[in-house]
Protein backbone atom coordinates (compact mmCIF):
# COMPACT_ATOMS: atom_id res chain seq x y z
CA UNK A 1 0.00 0.00 0.00
CA UNK A 2 1.04 3.59 -0.54
CA UNK A 3 0.71 5.55 2.68
CA UNK A 4 1.02 9.34 2.64
CA UNK A 5 2.50 11.18 5.62
CA UNK A 6 1.70 14.91 5.67
CA UNK A 7 4.28 17.43 6.82
CA UNK A 8 3.02 20.81 8.05
CA UNK A 9 5.26 23.66 9.23
CA UNK A 10 6.11 22.60 12.78
CA UNK A 11 5.38 18.90 12.35
CA UNK A 12 7.83 16.80 14.41
CA UNK A 13 6.93 13.16 14.04
CA UNK A 14 6.61 12.79 10.29
CA UNK A 15 9.92 10.92 9.96
CA UNK A 16 9.02 8.47 12.73
CA UNK A 17 5.61 7.95 11.13
CA UNK A 18 7.30 7.28 7.79
CA UNK A 19 9.61 4.76 9.44
CA UNK A 20 6.66 3.00 11.08
CA UNK A 21 4.90 2.78 7.72
CA UNK A 22 8.00 1.21 6.12
CA UNK A 23 8.51 -1.27 8.95
CA UNK A 24 4.86 -2.29 8.54
CA UNK A 25 5.66 -3.18 4.94
CA UNK A 26 4.09 -0.26 3.11
CA UNK A 27 5.45 2.30 0.69
CA UNK A 28 5.84 5.85 2.09
CA UNK A 29 4.77 8.93 0.16
CA UNK A 30 5.81 12.25 1.71
CA UNK A 31 2.97 14.76 1.34
CA UNK A 32 3.41 18.52 1.70
CA UNK A 33 0.79 20.67 3.41
CA UNK A 34 0.89 23.31 0.67
CA UNK A 35 0.12 20.89 -2.16
CA UNK A 36 -3.25 19.89 -3.53
CA UNK A 37 -2.14 16.39 -4.43
CA UNK A 38 -2.57 13.15 -2.49
CA UNK A 39 -0.43 11.41 -5.16
CA UNK A 40 -2.75 8.44 -5.33
CA UNK A 41 -2.06 7.19 -1.79
CA UNK A 42 -4.22 4.48 -0.22
CA UNK A 43 -4.10 6.02 3.27
CA UNK A 44 -2.97 9.23 4.99
CA UNK A 45 -1.27 9.89 8.34
CA UNK A 46 -1.36 13.31 9.98
CA UNK A 47 1.61 13.07 12.37
CA UNK A 48 2.33 14.75 15.68
CA UNK A 49 4.13 17.98 16.42
CA UNK A 50 3.30 21.62 16.88
CA UNK A 51 2.07 22.70 13.46
CA UNK A 52 1.97 26.50 13.15
CA UNK A 53 3.36 26.67 16.67
CA UNK A 54 -0.07 25.69 18.04
CA UNK A 55 -1.07 29.31 17.35
CA UNK A 56 -4.78 30.18 17.63
CA UNK A 57 -5.64 26.62 18.72
CA UNK A 58 -3.75 23.36 18.16
CA UNK A 59 -4.50 22.27 14.61
CA UNK A 60 -6.73 25.25 13.81
CA UNK A 61 -4.50 26.73 11.10
CA UNK A 62 -3.30 23.41 9.64
CA UNK A 63 -6.91 22.39 9.23
CA UNK A 64 -7.12 24.96 6.41
CA UNK A 65 -3.88 23.91 4.69
CA UNK A 66 -4.38 23.22 0.96
CA UNK A 67 -3.82 19.47 1.30
CA UNK A 68 -6.51 19.24 3.99
CA UNK A 69 -9.20 19.93 1.36
CA UNK A 70 -8.10 16.73 -0.34
CA UNK A 71 -7.68 14.80 2.92
CA UNK A 72 -11.18 15.80 4.06
CA UNK A 73 -12.73 14.89 0.70
CA UNK A 74 -10.87 11.57 0.72
CA UNK A 75 -11.88 10.80 4.30
CA UNK A 76 -15.51 11.36 3.41
CA UNK A 77 -15.09 8.82 0.58
CA UNK A 78 -13.61 6.23 2.95
CA UNK A 79 -9.87 6.93 2.64
CA UNK A 80 -8.15 5.66 5.82
CA UNK A 81 -6.82 8.65 7.79
CA UNK A 82 -4.92 8.41 11.08
CA UNK A 83 -4.26 11.56 13.11
CA UNK A 84 -1.73 11.17 15.89
CA UNK A 85 -1.52 13.80 18.66
CA UNK A 86 -1.37 17.08 16.70
CA UNK A 87 -2.90 15.11 13.84
CA UNK A 88 -5.82 14.19 16.13
CA UNK A 89 -6.18 17.88 16.97
CA UNK A 90 -6.27 18.70 13.24
CA UNK A 91 -8.98 16.06 12.69
CA UNK A 92 -11.27 17.53 15.37
CA UNK A 93 -10.66 21.05 14.07
CA UNK A 94 -11.61 19.76 10.60
CA UNK A 95 -14.77 18.21 12.11
CA UNK A 96 -13.83 14.80 10.74
CA UNK A 97 -14.06 13.66 14.36
CA UNK A 98 -16.36 15.07 17.07
CA UNK A 99 -15.37 16.79 20.31
CA UNK A 100 -12.29 18.82 21.14
CA UNK A 101 -8.87 18.60 22.78
CA UNK A 102 -7.99 20.94 25.62
CA UNK A 103 -4.92 21.61 27.72
CA UNK A 104 -4.25 18.74 30.15
CA UNK A 105 -6.32 19.20 33.31
CA UNK A 106 -3.15 19.28 35.46
CA UNK A 107 -1.65 21.90 33.08
CA UNK A 108 1.69 20.12 32.64
CA UNK A 109 3.18 18.57 29.53
CA UNK A 110 3.25 14.82 29.99
CA UNK A 111 5.69 12.27 28.55
CA UNK A 112 5.41 8.65 29.63
CA UNK A 113 4.98 5.08 28.43
CA UNK A 114 1.22 4.64 28.59
CA UNK A 115 -0.90 1.52 28.72
CA UNK A 116 -3.92 1.61 26.41
CA UNK A 117 -6.79 -0.81 25.88
CA UNK A 118 -7.94 -1.28 22.29
CA UNK A 119 -11.71 -0.90 22.53
CA UNK A 120 -12.52 -1.20 18.83
CA UNK A 121 -10.46 -3.56 16.68
CA UNK A 122 -12.60 -3.18 13.58
CA UNK A 123 -11.32 0.18 12.29
CA UNK A 124 -8.95 0.58 9.34
CA UNK A 125 -6.14 1.28 11.82
CA UNK A 126 -6.80 -1.25 14.60
CA UNK A 127 -7.73 -4.53 12.90
CA UNK A 128 -4.34 -6.07 13.76
CA UNK A 129 -5.25 -5.92 17.44
CA UNK A 130 -7.51 -8.15 19.51
CA UNK A 131 -10.58 -6.53 20.99
CA UNK A 132 -9.65 -5.54 24.55
CA UNK A 133 -5.90 -6.01 23.96
CA UNK A 134 -3.67 -3.88 26.19
CA UNK A 135 -0.65 -2.22 24.61
CA UNK A 136 2.07 0.20 25.77
CA UNK A 137 3.08 3.17 23.62
CA UNK A 138 4.58 6.59 24.41
CA UNK A 139 2.27 9.45 25.29
CA UNK A 140 3.55 13.03 25.06
CA UNK A 141 1.23 15.98 24.96
CA UNK A 142 0.32 19.29 26.51
CA UNK A 143 -3.19 19.52 25.10
CA UNK A 144 -4.56 16.00 25.13
CA UNK A 145 -7.65 16.33 27.29
CA UNK A 146 -10.48 14.93 25.17
CA UNK A 147 -13.84 16.60 25.76
CA UNK A 148 -17.26 16.34 24.12
CA UNK A 149 -20.78 17.22 25.18
CA UNK A 150 -22.84 14.54 26.92
CA UNK A 151 -24.84 13.60 23.79
CA UNK A 152 -21.71 13.18 21.67
CA UNK A 153 -20.03 11.13 24.38
CA UNK A 154 -23.06 8.87 24.71
CA UNK A 155 -23.14 8.39 20.94
CA UNK A 156 -19.42 7.55 20.78
CA UNK A 157 -19.78 5.02 23.56
CA UNK A 158 -23.04 3.58 22.20
CA UNK A 159 -21.66 3.11 18.71
CA UNK A 160 -18.37 1.62 19.89
CA UNK A 161 -16.41 4.53 18.47
CA UNK A 162 -13.96 4.80 21.35
CA UNK A 163 -10.93 3.16 19.75
CA UNK A 164 -8.51 3.24 22.68
CA UNK A 165 -8.78 4.05 26.38
CA UNK A 166 -6.12 4.91 28.96
CA UNK A 167 -5.54 2.12 31.47
CA UNK A 168 -4.40 2.49 35.12
CA UNK A 169 -4.10 6.27 34.98
CA UNK A 170 -5.92 9.04 33.17
CA UNK A 171 -2.94 11.17 32.16
CA UNK A 172 -4.69 14.34 30.99
CA UNK A 173 -8.27 14.47 32.25
CA UNK A 174 -9.85 13.05 29.09
CA UNK A 175 -13.53 12.23 29.53
CA UNK A 176 -14.19 8.48 29.93
CA UNK A 177 -10.39 7.91 29.75
CA UNK A 178 -10.61 8.35 25.97
CA UNK A 179 -7.27 8.12 24.15
CA UNK A 180 -8.65 7.72 20.63
CA UNK A 181 -11.88 7.73 18.66
CA UNK A 182 -13.11 6.91 15.17
CA UNK A 183 -15.76 8.23 12.79
CA UNK A 184 -18.96 6.36 11.95
CA UNK A 185 -17.36 4.58 9.02
CA UNK A 186 -14.24 3.51 10.92
CA UNK A 187 -11.79 4.88 8.36
CA UNK A 188 -10.78 8.02 10.30
CA UNK A 189 -9.03 7.50 13.63
CA UNK A 190 -7.65 10.13 16.01
CA UNK A 191 -5.22 9.04 18.68
CA UNK A 192 -3.44 11.12 21.32
CA UNK A 193 -0.63 8.62 22.16
CA UNK A 194 2.15 7.84 19.69
CA UNK A 195 2.23 4.31 18.20
CA UNK A 196 4.84 5.41 15.64
CA UNK A 197 7.39 5.69 18.47
CA UNK A 198 6.85 2.06 19.48
CA UNK A 199 7.70 0.04 16.37
CA UNK A 200 11.24 -1.11 17.11
CA UNK A 201 12.61 -2.72 20.28
CA UNK A 202 15.80 -0.66 20.07
CA UNK A 203 14.17 2.76 20.31
CA UNK A 204 10.66 2.32 21.57
CA UNK A 205 8.68 1.27 24.57
CA UNK A 206 8.36 -1.99 22.62
CA UNK A 207 6.73 -2.75 19.33
CA UNK A 208 3.08 -2.56 20.34
CA UNK A 209 2.48 0.48 18.13
CA UNK A 210 3.18 -1.40 14.93
CA UNK A 211 -0.34 -2.83 14.83
CA UNK A 212 -1.81 0.52 13.84
CA UNK A 213 0.25 0.47 10.66
CA UNK A 214 -0.02 -3.24 9.81
CA UNK A 215 -3.81 -2.99 10.19
CA UNK A 216 -3.97 -1.15 6.87
CA UNK A 217 -3.20 -4.38 5.01
CA UNK A 218 -6.69 -5.53 5.96
CA UNK A 219 -8.32 -2.52 4.30
CA UNK A 220 -7.63 -3.58 0.74
CA UNK A 221 -7.89 -7.30 1.42
Amino acid sequence: MKVGVVTFPGTLDDVDAQRAVRIAGHEVVALWHGDHDLQGVDAVILPGGFSYGDYLRCGAISRFAPIMTDVIAGAQQGLPVLGICNGFQILVEAHLLPGGLLRNDHRKFICRDQTLRIENSSTAWTSSFEQGQEIVVPLKNGEGQYVADADTLARLEGEGRVVARYVDVNPNGSLNDIAGITNERGNVVGLMPHPEHAVEALTGAGTDGLGFFTSLAGVLA
Partner: protein, 81 residues
Protein backbone atom coordinates in the same frame (compact mmCIF):
# COMPACT_ATOMS: atom_id res chain seq x y z
CA UNK B 1 -9.94 52.87 10.33
CA UNK B 2 -12.87 51.12 12.02
CA UNK B 3 -12.13 48.17 14.24
CA UNK B 4 -14.20 45.05 14.76
CA UNK B 5 -13.47 43.09 17.92
CA UNK B 6 -14.05 39.36 18.22
CA UNK B 7 -13.94 37.99 21.76
CA UNK B 8 -13.54 34.23 22.15
CA UNK B 9 -14.13 32.49 25.48
CA UNK B 10 -14.10 28.86 26.53
CA UNK B 11 -17.68 27.64 26.99
CA UNK B 12 -18.86 27.86 30.60
CA UNK B 13 -19.08 24.08 30.94
CA UNK B 14 -15.53 23.60 29.62
CA UNK B 15 -12.69 23.43 32.15
CA UNK B 16 -10.28 26.32 31.58
CA UNK B 17 -6.84 25.20 32.81
CA UNK B 18 -5.21 28.55 31.96
CA UNK B 19 -7.79 30.51 33.92
CA UNK B 20 -7.32 28.08 36.78
CA UNK B 21 -3.55 28.67 36.74
CA UNK B 22 -4.06 32.44 36.86
CA UNK B 23 -6.57 32.08 39.70
CA UNK B 24 -4.08 29.93 41.60
CA UNK B 25 -1.44 32.65 41.40
CA UNK B 26 -3.64 35.43 42.78
CA UNK B 27 -3.33 34.68 46.52
CA UNK B 28 0.46 34.53 46.18
CA UNK B 29 0.35 38.03 44.74
CA UNK B 30 -1.79 39.27 47.60
CA UNK B 31 -5.05 39.51 45.62
CA UNK B 32 -7.97 38.08 47.48
CA UNK B 33 -11.67 38.04 46.77
CA UNK B 34 -11.45 36.77 43.19
CA UNK B 35 -13.41 33.53 43.00
CA UNK B 36 -12.99 32.60 39.34
CA UNK B 37 -10.84 33.49 36.33
CA UNK B 38 -11.64 32.52 32.75
CA UNK B 39 -9.09 33.25 30.05
CA UNK B 40 -10.09 33.93 26.48
CA UNK B 41 -8.81 35.62 23.34
CA UNK B 42 -9.49 39.02 21.81
CA UNK B 43 -9.04 39.62 18.08
CA UNK B 44 -8.91 43.17 16.69
CA UNK B 45 -9.76 43.32 13.00
CA UNK B 46 -9.14 46.57 11.13
CA UNK B 47 -11.51 47.06 8.18
CA UNK B 48 -11.87 49.95 5.69
CA UNK B 49 -15.54 50.35 6.60
CA UNK B 50 -18.17 48.56 8.61
CA UNK B 51 -21.05 47.32 6.50
CA UNK B 52 -23.54 44.50 7.00
CA UNK B 53 -21.59 42.47 4.44
CA UNK B 54 -18.31 43.03 6.28
CA UNK B 55 -19.88 42.06 9.59
CA UNK B 56 -21.43 38.96 8.02
CA UNK B 57 -18.00 37.96 6.71
CA UNK B 58 -16.40 38.49 10.11
CA UNK B 59 -19.19 36.50 11.76
CA UNK B 60 -18.40 33.63 9.40
CA UNK B 61 -14.67 34.02 10.04
CA UNK B 62 -15.25 33.90 13.80
CA UNK B 63 -17.55 30.91 13.52
CA UNK B 64 -15.27 28.81 11.31
CA UNK B 65 -11.77 29.89 12.28
CA UNK B 66 -11.24 32.27 15.20
CA UNK B 67 -13.40 30.15 17.51
CA UNK B 68 -13.93 26.41 17.69
CA UNK B 69 -17.62 26.38 18.56
CA UNK B 70 -17.32 22.86 19.95
CA UNK B 71 -15.44 24.27 22.93
CA UNK B 72 -15.68 28.08 22.63
CA UNK B 73 -18.23 30.90 22.36
CA UNK B 74 -17.57 34.18 20.55
CA UNK B 75 -19.01 37.66 20.20
CA UNK B 76 -18.50 40.16 17.38
CA UNK B 77 -18.76 43.91 18.02
CA UNK B 78 -17.73 47.16 16.38
CA UNK B 79 -15.40 49.18 18.56
CA UNK B 80 -16.36 52.84 18.77
CA UNK B 81 -13.32 55.11 18.69
Amino acid sequence: MPRVVVDVMPKPEILDPQGKAVLGALPRLGFTGVSEVRQGKRFELEVPEVTDAVLADIEKLADTFLANTVIENYTVRVEQR
